[in-house]
Symmetry: D3
Subunit: 136 residues, 6 copies
């Protein structure tokens, strides 16, 4: 079993704001992240798949195809977008990095071909904060 990781990148705006709370409580809980006018990040996304290398190619999966799938199904939906307003799979959820990583996992999973197993989503919100999700 070998693990293969591809790093992709997207820029997006978001805010941490629970609509069930008033502004004061949002500011108490989320501080500057609750700014109603939004803030944003350069997100770094690491997608890891696993499998056994194919003897004919040496690949567990062609990394260029992996990149293309991530671009089409994830980056296209997130890059230069507002995570709270523009992204279908984040509707009705808090826009934390944790939830975004889970959302990316669920969105990407059905687009991987048979025989390629998704292992993890690692998502940097800033160079000093990241989350990882392994699907359960």
């Amino acid at each position: 079993m070998v693990y293969l990781t591809r790093k992709e990148h997207f820029n997006a705006a978001h805010k941490l704001y629970n609509p069930a709370w008033d502004r004061q409580k949002n500011e108490e809980v989320f501080g500057k992240c609750a700014n109603e006018n939004w803030h944003g990040h350069n997100f770094e996304l690491y997608v890891t798949v696993k499998g056994n290398p194919d003897p004919e190619t040496g690949f567990i999966f062609d990394v260029k195809k992996l990149s293309k799938i991530i671009q089409e199904h994830i980056i296209e939906k997130l890059d230069h977008k507002n995570l709270n307003l523009d992204v279908d799979f984040m509707q009705g959820k808090m826009c934390s990095t944790e939830n975004l990583a889970i959302g990316i996992w669920n969105e990407l999973l059905p687009h991987l071909p048979p025989g390629v197993t998704l292992h993890s989503i690692k998502l940097y919100e800033t160079p000093r904060i990241y989350v990882e999700y392994y699907g359960d």
Copy 2:
């Protein structure tokens, strides 16, 4: 003459949108960056000052004081903010990285003590795009 650089960090939302143009022209010129719902970045800011080391301290300027000045006068205004809506010194200007770097220079300059010369502002918008400004 020695050059001393301090790196700081802020996260912000912005869009590239010229209000004198209609939406179609904005999208033609700025593409995804014109998204009316904003996007954002982790900006990396490098402030360089220059001078001769003080024999008693070995410093051209105490880098902790430099960091404090940048925090108070720049980061406080930009971090977790919307550059188009929330930042006084960007009002009426296009929110490009070029203009943001010039704005940071002008905003920081009067807060440096006598004998400390501002040399440059270097501002990363993404890990692959940055601008530099030397004051003229």
Copy 3:
């Protein structure tokens, strides 16, 4: 289950020196690291906690609170310190990066709130050397 990591930084001096051995044996075993006048590093510390996101916040734990706990209980004790002389939890131990990572784990664990599970300590001594500890 989601994993959340916060990166912190500290600078410290140390030496690798076993007081039960004479200087010659220390130099044979530890080489330059045994320099009696100390050397030092910029340590990069990655603290990973795990849990399930809270539906109201989207957080497994507020990363700003995590950062504050690490600052108060770990960085305060290590930053700009001599690991052999100044750090209570390293007394009587060899000041290797391995032992420092274990020490940080033990020191941090009781300060995390209920429901937040410490997953790992990753500690870079140099950009090319790091250790990881998972608590057992």
Copy 4:
């Protein structure tokens, strides 16, 4: 149990080319990577070993000795080499990063001293692509 990682570096040329296929099929499958005149990379190699710290040294293994073993048995064979033509342990295999990581594991394993357990090989082909192998 503590995990210790050492990062090493080598530069090499390779191509992805299956000699059982004609040139057209190689280009269809491998694209630019099939260029018959080769291309190359700065590979970053992370070797992780695990064990319990020795009370007398604080080490699970002396990282300088680990580096020396990697240099002698891996880097010496790969650095400034053509992976397809010059490397004995890659003969008859596709020169993918997956197979190279497995090859490095097998080559390194017998050279580690008793009591030091090899945990993983992590190999960056580019800053955006890496593979990991854990030995089974």
Copy 5:
């Protein structure tokens, strides 16, 4: 005057080999870099242009257009190529990083639109070696 930099990336094979010398002299002068079977690198290319921001866009030049020009005229010729064999503008020259940077400058210059001034080419051969060229 503001300076704008775009970072691009390419992978290539090369060797340092002066055909006017015999193999022994090439090995004496270039060491491992003279391996007749080639080696390779992940090159990181920084292109810096300078100018005054356009009041209507805030740009000195649209960085997406800059990236497209570099892709079309430089990366297309160098990525996954053999610098000695495949690159027209390196024919008859030693394939050093110095000469490659000069070659990229000369190749890129005529493709920049009027009003955009090329300032520098910075080219990393490895993470620890780079050259810069300013056009004279």
Copy 6:
């Protein structure tokens, strides 16, 4: 004219402490950096030389020779050392990064061969603080 940069690395201990002052004044001026028991850093050193490429080699200077000169005359004196106590060329000077960069310049200059011009010393004390010196 082409500029060639080589990056080297050393780890060292130091403190910022003016012996002409009492401990209280040292702590007021230097804060944690005045800790009498020392602290330390992973210093990253960038040495830039300039010249015209030799037509026979393509080099302005063989970067392996440059690295060897830096190793022998600079790294050997600084790595795993105490900058205040162990380094001859820092005696009687404040151990700031500014003064260390100037000292490295002066120490390195006479060891470069004729025809190779030293352009700059860039020295990172931490990933967020660096100084540059150009020789006057």
